[in-house]
Each structure stands twice: as structure tokens, then as C-alpha cells.
């Protein structure tokens, strides 16, 4: 074991053989514990450390260890405040806070989550903390996204320097359950949302913030919104916003929390979570099963309840759902009921908040009322679906059993669906509103929904577009799976999806207020409805076929059919959602998607613009307080200061691979760029800053070190981007446009020239000189020496000296000429 100490890090090289790793060098969890054990053994004491980074080479493991100091083990981890007990046998203990690695963490704190091999840690919010039997400590986290993680969907959306986006919606990437040990540190995230519910941060708080956020990124539709409803994902809004000092988080919705706790245990018993979680290396994969399991837990319950209360059709659905849910989650039905009631209450609250008039009455209603609401929402949805078919899918989820039938029927039988609506209206005022809004606006209401609404929209869009949905299902699957219309499709995609349907319902309720607003904003869309219906009819027929067939082929057919639908939808306002959805799927989307997405995107942009306008204005206002960054909204050609990249130091948590290897990889991937005409004064870090500010791309940069033959006029730098797209973008942009560095140098970028194949390259000038005495030669080669004037060697060396001097002259002359040329050009500029 060799050890190297640099800064606060101690890096170790450990022979790999010690860990009995096979030829395949996967990083295994056990490896970490093995390494820690060995390190402790080596130092003959108990050390507190954390392996921050591990790099496995063929022959050795290199790991960096943070914070090495003696400790007694107790200090490393300590539970603080208990919260409740859950689980089948009360074997799960929930906590509100704990101390880990000397840092206190509490529920809803933001943390860095680290993952091996990742340069920058993930950022997440703790939403649940618990301990299972056997000292297994888990946290449920709600993710934030760094802009670079979702740059694909950000498009031209500007982000603040240190802005991150909060995951919303449902689906992969929203939450995960991870082991508590994967927390890498506390992260100060401040919500700068102008929302009146958000306690505004003080200037100092802003200054101290590592990151700020005010927007959400819907993991399902991959859309960005600055509006937050009462819940983001399954997290209450007040936990999303800044916490007021002294505010007791539990104060309001104890019921909720209790419920939540009750539901949590459910999650735990369901073996899914632990299993998936157990593969530690994968834990951090956001998309991994754990999230699904979480969803399942919540969702199945709702479905079950809804189903129970609903008519026979619903029962069918329920049974199905129940079965599925059991399969998936294995959760007891009772629990599910409980959860439903809880959720319903929440919904009621939401409704109250949202709907001023009718909601109160609804809120007054008991769980049944809630259930009714649920139903109502479903009902309207169905109606909508019939009309628009889009709606159906989401709502349909509750009625899953019905949906396939209904869809077929509904397509034909739209009127009956209307009847459903009327019923709904009777039951729920809120729903009525929704319905009214939805009905009047038709598709618009659906389309108008915000990101959260997007889910609904997703559903809606899905319904008309069932085929499309299928295509998109990759994204939507979580939500869509629950939905009946989709079901056939969903089934194709995944059984797991069923649970989400429940969520959809709940979301609908939540979303309603937003929808109402949207509707207002959207205004007219009766025509669109008709169109939709027509389309729906078409689609529905297809859908039914598809559902029956349940074949993937359907999706293709649908895809073709979908395009028009999408466009129409887009017009109506739902297009956004659709677009977002289509584009959102992270590579999962099937063939039909690209077309849809493109068409939709354009339209959606236009359409969104109206809605977004206010968002944008909001955004601007938000941005201002956060940090007046130069790049933000100043005109494109204004100067910007390339200060240090925000949070740059954070990356020091994770030691990077050696530069050579990074360069090689980057070179192979085409992400390496050579910058010319760099100010020789700049350091590598400054280059990184400049690239970050100019292109909003983070990169690794290294100045090409000057040699005797380098030009004194300018330096070169190599930058390694994260993606080839980014590299291409920079190449093109620097070529077509002109980025002027501070002292009037336009930055130039070219592809990297061919890499040197080290060591192989020939070197001239070293000869075997078998001079007079053989012994001398041997010595001469092995040592360094001045040559004596009376040898052949000396004569030949003189030739070399001559050549060296000549070459020096060449270079000097070249550089002088180049300098003159530069001066000439620059003087031109000054004159002008």
C-alpha cells in the first residue's frame, strides 16, 4: 500500500490483488469495507474517514480518503429526534434528524448525495429517514437537477449560475431511497420562488446559499415550470419552500405525516425497496426501481380506495389494481385505504386552498367526500376523455377496468360520458368547476395545466393519443400505467405502472386550481374539442384495436395517427404537455415520438409562450434577487465577467481521474477541444470559468504548458467537455461568432490534433558511440555528464548545438513575424 498525502486528502494505492477482485473490475460495496478495514489495520487505530473517490486501475485501487482523524465510533453517527414507528411489526423507526459525520441533518434538509465515478454529487432533499432492523439506515430523497443534467430539455432556457431545479411530477428521477451513508454532505439550497407561500430568503441567506431554485422539472413530461402546486411530487409544498425559523414542520398536517409514516412502513415491508436498494452501487441511480416501488406504495392505495367506492366497473379496476399492487408492492389493502383517506384529506385541503367557493363544502366532506371527489375527478376526466379522450386516460386510471371498454365505447359513446360528468358535478362542486372549466375549454383546460398539471395533461394527451401514449409511455409509464386507456399499452410497457394511476387522480384534484387558471388563460378551445373528439374517435378506434392487440405495433400505428392529434392538442394548449412528454422520455420513447415531439415542440413553444409569459416575467424577477449575473439577461453582446464558477470547490469532494486519462477518454469521445489565442496569463481554472460563463458548459481545462518553441503571443488550452454535442456547439459557435477575451483576443477553437503515442515516438540524436574505449561508452550512456572536448562525442554534440541554435533562431524569427502580423491586425481594430 503506498500512500500519498495532498491537501486534506490522503490517497492510497492498494494492490488490487488484496481484494480478490476478478479480472472484471467492478466496484463492489464490499470493496469499500475491505479497504476501510485494511486502512484501519494499517494505522492500527480506528480512523474516521470516508472514501471519497475510488479509481481502479488494472493493478491497484486508488482511493482518496476524506477527513482522517481519530474518533470513537459513536461520533460518526447518532440519531437525534425520533418520529414514529412503522412497518408490519413496528420494526421500522422513523427519525426526524440525525448526526452523521459531525453534521446534523434534519428532515427536509438538502444534501449532497455522492456516487462513485461521478464528478459532481447529486443534490437532494431528505423526505424520509428511517432505520430498519439490522441497523440499516435509509433515507428517501427528492432530487434536484443541475441544469447540466437536464440541459437537453432546458433548450434555451437560461438558468441562474447556481440554480438547480426541483424534481416534480412522478416517475423515474423524482425520488429514491438510498442508504443514509451515501449522504456526502449538507447542501444549502434556498428557494427563491416568489410564491407568496414561500418565506423569502434574506440577502444573507442568498449569499450563503450553495444553490437556489424556484423552478421544477417534471421528470415525466420533462418540462420546466416555476409554479408549484400544493404538492411537488409527493412532497408538500411547505417542505419545498424555505422553512421559517422556528416553524415546526409537523404543525399542520400531522395526519398526513402519520399517514405518511404508516405508508412508509408499508414500503419497507415490501421487499422491493430493500432489494433494489441493497445493491449499493446502484442506489444512486435515480431511476432505479426504488422510486417505482415508492410510487407503487402510494398509488396502489389510492386506486384501491377509489375503486372500492366506485361502481362495479371500478371494482373491476380495483381488483386488477389490487392484484397488480399486491404483486408489485405486496402492500396490504387496508393500508392502502388508510393512505387513500389521508391523501384525500390532503386533497381536500388543496381543494380548499385552490377553489375558493365550492371547495369548502367539499372540504367539509369527510373521507367519503374525498372519495367522491376522487370519483368525480375521475368522472369528469372520463367525460373529458370521451370528449377529448385525453382526459380519459388519466381519470381512466381509476376506472382502469372500465377504461379499455370505455375507450372503445367512449369513442363512440361520448354522450354517456357527459352524463358521468353531470353526476360528478352533483357530487363535487370543485369537480364541477373543473369540469366546467374543462368542458368549456374542452381540451384547453387540460392543456392549460401547469407542470403538475402536465401529468394530468399527460394523461389527457395520452387518452386521445393512446397510441402516442404508448410511444411516450416510456416516460409516462408511471402515470400512464395506472390509467385504463393506457393499460393495454401500459401492460405492454410495464405492470408496475398501475400504481401511478392513483397518483394521477390525486394530482388531478390538486391540479384543478391550476387548471382553472390555465383555463382562464387559455380561453377558447371549443373547436379544438371537436377536433379532438374527431381525432379521438379515430384514435379511439385505433386505441381499442391496440388495447385488444396490445401489440407494440400499435404504437407505431398510433404514432402516425398521433401526429395530427398532437398538433391539434398543441393548439388547444395541451400540446405543451404532449410535447414535453414526447420530448421528455429519456431515450425511452419509441419511434413515434420524435416526430410528435418536434411538431409539438414548435407549437408548444408558441402556445406556451402565452402561459409562459407570466412565468417568464416571474422568472426574471426571480432571477434578479438570486444573483445578478451578467450573463443572465443582458443583451447578447454585452460584456460579462467570468468570475469563479459557482460551487466550483464542491467538486473537490470527488477527486478526478488523472488528466491524461480524462484527456484520452475525451479525445476518443470527441469532447476535447484545443483553444488557441488564449491569454498566456490565464490559468486553467480561469479557462474553465470562461467556458462556463460563455457557453454554460462545465468543462475540464488545462493550459498547454509553454515550451521553448511555444509562441509568446498566446497560449493554448485543452478543454474537455462533457458531451460531444457540447464540444460541437462550442466549436461552431466560436467559429461563427466571436468571443472576445478581456484583452481583445478572440478565442479560437479547433479540434485536438492527433494524440501523441507516448514513448513510441522516435528521438533523434542518441547514437551508440563505440569510441576508442568500450568501457567509456557504457558509463556514458548510463550517467549524465558534460562531454569532454577531445572526444567524437563532443564534436557531434557541437553539431547538435549548432542545430539547436539554428532552430532557436527559426522560432524567434517566426514568433517575431507572427507578433508583427498580430500587431498590424490589432492596430486596425484600434483605429476603427
Amino acid at each position: 500500500m503506498s500512500m500519498k498525502c495532498e491537501g486534506g486528502l490522503i490517497s492510497f494505492r492498494i494492490s488490487l490483488a488484496a481484494y480478490r477482485l476478478e479480472a472484471e473490475l467492478s466496484i463492489e460495496v464490499s470493496l469499500f469495507s475491505d479497504i476501510s478495514r485494511d486502512i484501519n489495520r494499517t494505522f492500527n487505530c480506528v480512523l474516521r474517514f470516508r472514501i471519497a473517490c475510488i479509481h481502479i486501475n488494472f493493478n491497484f485501487v486508488e482511493c482518496c480518503i476524506l477527513y482522517m482523524e481519530n474518533i470513537d465510533e459513536d461520533l460518526e453517527f447518532k440519531w437525534l429526534k425520533k418520529k414514529g414507528v412503522g412497518g408490519k411489526n413496528k420494526e421500522v423507526q422513523f427519525y426526524e434528524s440525525f448526526i452523521y459525520d459531525g453534521v446534523k441533518y434534519a428532515l427536509y434538509d438538502c444534501v449532497y448525495m455522492y456516487k462513485e465515478g461521478l464528478q459532481e454529487p447529486y443534490i437532494a432533499k431528505l423526505t424520509k429517514i428511517w432505520e430498519r432492523k439490522g441497523n440499516i439506515k435509509k433515507v428517501k430523497v427528492h432530487w434536484f437537477f443541475r441544469p447540466e443534467e437536464i440541459s437537453k430539455w432546458l433548450g434555451n432556457t437560461k438558468t441562474l449560475e447556481n440554480e438547480i431545479l426541483f424534481a416534480s411530477g412522478e416517475g423515474h428521477g423524482l425520488t429514491n431511497i438510498n442508504s443514509l451513508e451515501s449522504i456526502a454532505g449538507a447542501c444549502n439550497v434556498v428557494c427563491v420562488s416568489k410564491d407568496c407561500r414561500n418565506p423569502q430568503p434574506s440577502a444573507e441567506e442568498l449569499k450563503a446559499a450553495d444553490f437556489v431554485f424556484y423552478r421544477t422539472f417534471d421528470v415525466q413530461s420533462c418540462t420546466i415550470s416555476d409554479k408549484m402546486d400544493d404538492k411537488v411530487g409527493d412532497l408538500e409544498i411547505k417542505y419545498v419552500f424555505n422553512q421559517k425559523e422556528g416553524e415546526i414542520p409537523e404543525s399542520i398536517p400531522k395526519t398526513k405525516e402519520d399517514n405518511a409514516t404508516s405508508s412508509e412502513p408499508q414500503q419497507l415491508p415490501t421487499t422491493i425497496v430493500p432489494n433494489k436498494l441493497d445493491d449499493d452501487p446502484n442506489q444512486l441511480k435515480r431511476n432505479i426501481t426504488p422510486t417505482e416501488s415508492d410510487k407503487l406504495n402510494d398509488r396502489p392505495l389510492k386506486k384501491l380506495k377509489a375503486g372500492g367506492k366506485n361502481p362495479p366497473e371500478e371494482k373491476h379496476a380495483e381488483t386488477e389494481v389490487a392484484q397488480e399492487s399486491e404483486k408489485l408492492t405486496g402492500m396490504p389493502s387496508k393500508k392502502s385505504k388508510v393512505d387513500n383517506t389521508n391523501k384525500i384529506q390532503v386533497d381536500v385541503n388543496k381543494l380548499k386552498g385552490v377553489e375558493t367557493s365550492g371547495t369548502k363544502s367539499e372540504t367539509g366532506k369527510t373521507d367519503k367526500a374525498n372519495k367522491d371527489d376522487m370519483k368525480v375527478s375521475i368522472g369528469p376526466v372520463d367525460n373529458k376523455v370521451d370528449n377529448k379522450e385525453r382526459n380519459k386516460t388519466p381519470t381512466g386510471s381509476d376506472r382502469l377496468p372500465n377504461q379499455p371498454l370505455k375507450k372503445q365505447k367512449s369513442d363512440v359513446k361520448n354522450p354517456p360520458m357527459v352524463d358521468n360528468k353531470s353526476k360528478h358535478e352533483e357530487k363535487l362542486p370543485a369537480d364541477v368547476r373543473k369540469l366546467k372549466g374543462a368542458e368549456t375549454l374542452g381540451t384547453n383546460s387540460e392543456t392549460g395545466k401547469t407542470d403538475k398539471a402536465n401529468k394530468d395533461d399527460m394523461k389527457v394527451s395520452l387518452v386521445p393519443l393512446n397510441n402516442k401514449v404508448d410511444n411516450k409511455e416510456g416516460n409516462k409509464t408511471p402515470t400512464g400505467s395506472g390509467r385504463l386507456p393506457n393499460q393495454p399499452l401500459k401492460k405492454q410497457k410495464s405492470d408496475v405502472k398501475n400504481p401511478p394511476m392513483v397518483d394521477n387522480k390525486s394530482k388531478h384534484e390538486e391540479k384543478l386550481p391550476a387548471d382553472v387558471n390555465n383555463l382562464k388563460a387559455l380561453g377558447t378551445s371549443g373547436v379544438t374539442e371537436e377536433k379532438l373528439n374527431q381525432k379521438n374517435g379515430k384514435v379511439s378506434s385505433k386505441v381499442t384495436d391496440d388495447s385488444e392487440g396490445k401489440v407494440i405495433k400499435k404504437s407505431k400505428d398510433d404514432g402516425s395517427a398521433k401526429l395530427p392529434d398532437n398538433k391539434k392538442l398543441g393548439n388547444s394548449g395541451s400540446g405543451k404537455d404532449l410535447v414535453a412528454n414526447s420530448s421528455s422520455p429519456k431515450g425511452k420513447s419509441k419511434s413515434g415520438l420524435p416526430l410528435n415531439s418536434t411538431a409539438n415542440n414548435k407549437e408548444s413553444k408558441e402556445e406556451q409562450s402565452s402561459e409562459n409569459k407570466r412565468k417568464l416575467t416571474m422568472n426574471k424577477s426571480f432571477k434578479l434577487p438570486a444573483s445578478l449575473t451578467d450573463k443572465d439577461k443582458k443583451s447578447a453582446y454585452q460584456e460579462f465577467v467570468c468570475g469563479p464558477k459557482p460551487n466550483d470547490d464542491k467538486s473537490s469532494w470527488f477527486r478526478q481521474l488523472p488528466w491524461d486519462e480524462r484527456l484520452k477518454t475525451a479525445y476518443d469521445q470527441g469532447t476535447a477541444i484545443l483553444l488557441h489565442n488564449v491569454d498566456p496569463d490565464y490559468t486553467s481554472a480561469e479557462i474553465e470559468d470562461i467556458i462556463w460563463h460563455a457557453f454554460n458548459e462545465s468543462c475540464g481545462a488545462k493550459i498547454v504548458q509553454r515550451t521553448a518553441v511555444s509562441s509568446p503571443h498566446y497560449a493554448q488550452a485543452i478543454i474537455l467537455l462533457k458531451t460531444k454535442e457540447a464540444a460541437q456547439k462550442i466549436l461552431v459557435k466560436l467559429d461563427e461568432e466571436c468571443l472576445m477575451l478581456s484583452n481583445g483576443r478572440p478565442l479560437v477553437a479547433t479540434n485536438c490534433p492527433p494524440m501523441s503515442k507516448k514513448k513510441n515516438s522516435s528521438f533523434f540524436g542518441h547514437l551508440k558511440i563505440k569510441v576508442q574505449n568500450q568501457r567509456d561508452v557504457d558509463e556514458a550512456v548510463s550517467t549524465s555528464h558534460f562531454s569532454q572536448p577531445n572526444t567524437i562525442e563532443y564534436d557531434m554534440a557541437m553539431d547538435w548545438c549548432l542545430l539547436q541554435n539554428r532552430s532557436k533562431k527559426w522560432w524567434d524569427k517566426l514568433h517575431k513575424l507572427q507578433g508583427l502580423e498580430l500587431k498590424n491586425l490589432e492596430s486596425n481594430r484600434v483605429q476603427k
Binding site: 460579462f640 488545462k702 515550451t707 472576445m740 490534433p753 533523434f764 555528464h785 563532443y794 557531434m796 548545438c801
Partner: protein
């Protein structure tokens, strides 16, 4: 460390450092350590990486314990050719420059201000020209480097030819002495043969 003091320390380090090129790629850190420990104490050796095949320059930075040692080495190596790990091509030394260092700290807390140039602005054209000129210069430099390599190769071949020819002569002479030809010739010409 304060940026200013850090930079001062760095400048000091630069003064103590010599830059070497014309190095063989086979030269390692250990070789350099040994080579320059003859003159003083080597604090640190750092190779300047050659990422690109075209750069073809093998260079290293050797930090000595004192500025005096570094100056001394540069002067001596200027006077007479110094061989490291091979001959007859001598290693060339000069004082290191700040820009040769990879890990240099920021000079001071300065602001870097950049801007995208408006294409309609007059300077845009000039900037474009400068960009092209930069590329041209880079091409020129790589061409010159190629030429230099060619010259080196030429000299290398030439020297190796000369050496071969010389060796041939030596062998001839040795052979003549070894097989008695020299002696026979001496008797033939009635001269006395001296051993040497």
C-alpha cells in the same frame, strides 16, 4: 494562503527552476534527479506533458533548492554540452518561465471580462482576421516543428553515417594490426612498428 503570498511563493519557485528540452523520451524523473543532484539538490521534477503528436518536444522542469544553483546549471550547460541518457545530442537548459507551469496560481484577484462581439460591429471582421491569423500561426508553428524534426533526423542520419564510416576505419586498422598485416607492411617498408 493568500493569493498574493501564494503567487509570490510560486514566483520564487519559478526562479529556482530550470527548463530542459531536447530530452529523450526515455528520460525519467529518477534520471533527472541523479543528473542534477550533481549540481545541488533537486527539489522537484515535473515533465511537461506532450499531449499531441505534433508537439514533439520533450521537456521538463527541474526545481533546484536555490536560485543560485539553478543559475549555475544554466550557465554551465550553456558552456559545454550536457548529456543525459544518451549522446551526442546535448540537453538544452534555460530558466523556466511562469507560463511553463501547469499549476500556477492566479496572479491576483482579477476580473476577466469577456464579450460576444456583435457581428455588425467593425471589430468583428478584425477579430475574424485575428482568428484566422491565429490558426495560420498555429499551422506555421507546426510546420516549423516538422522542419525542425526533419533537420534533426537529417543530422542524426548524417552523424550515424559518419560514425559508421569512422568505425569502419577503426576496424580496418584494428584488423590490420590483429592479423599481422601491419607487421608485414612494416618489414616490407623497413620501418619500425610502434605499439599504441
Amino acid at each position: 494562503m493568500e493569493p498574493s503570498t501564494e503567487y509570490a511563493a510560486f514566483e520564487k519557485k519559478v526562479k529556482k527552476t530550470i527548463y530542459l528540452d531536447n530530452l529523450s523520451p526515455l528520460v525519467t524523473e529518477a534520471v533527472l534527479q541523479t543528473a542534477f543532484n550533481q549540481f545541488g539538490t533537486v527539489n522537484n521534477v515535473q515533465f511537461i506533458p506532450t499531449h499531441f503528436a505534433s508537439s514533439g518536444v520533450y521537456a521538463a522542469l527541474v526545481e533546484m533548492q536555490s536560485v543560485r544553483q539553478a543559475d549555475e546549471i544554466v550557465r554551465e550547460m550553456d558552456d559545454s554540452p550536457f548529456m543525459i541518457s544518451g549522446m551526442p545530442r546535448p540537453v538544452r537548459a534555460q530558466k523556466a518561465q511562469i507560463e511553463m507551469f501547469d499549476d500556477r496560481p492566479k496572479k491576483r484577484q482579477r476580473k476577466i471580462v469577456c464579450r460576444w462581439v456583435d457581428p455588425s460591429h467593425a471589430n468583428f471582421e478584425v477579430a475574424k482576421k485575428i482568428k484566422n491569423l491565429t490558426k495560420k500561426h498555429a499551422a506555421e508553428a507546426s510546420f516549423l516543428l516538422e522542419q525542425q524534426l526533419a533537420e534533426e533526423e537529417k543530422l542524426h542520419n548524417q552523424q550515424s553515417e559518419t560514425l559508421k564510416a569512422n568505425y569502419k576505419k577503426y576496424e580496418l586498422i584494428d584488423g590490420a594490426q590483429a592479423d599481422g598485416t601491419a607487421k608485414r607492411l612494416a618489414t616490407c617498408y623497413e620501418t619500425k612498428l610502434h605499439d599504441f
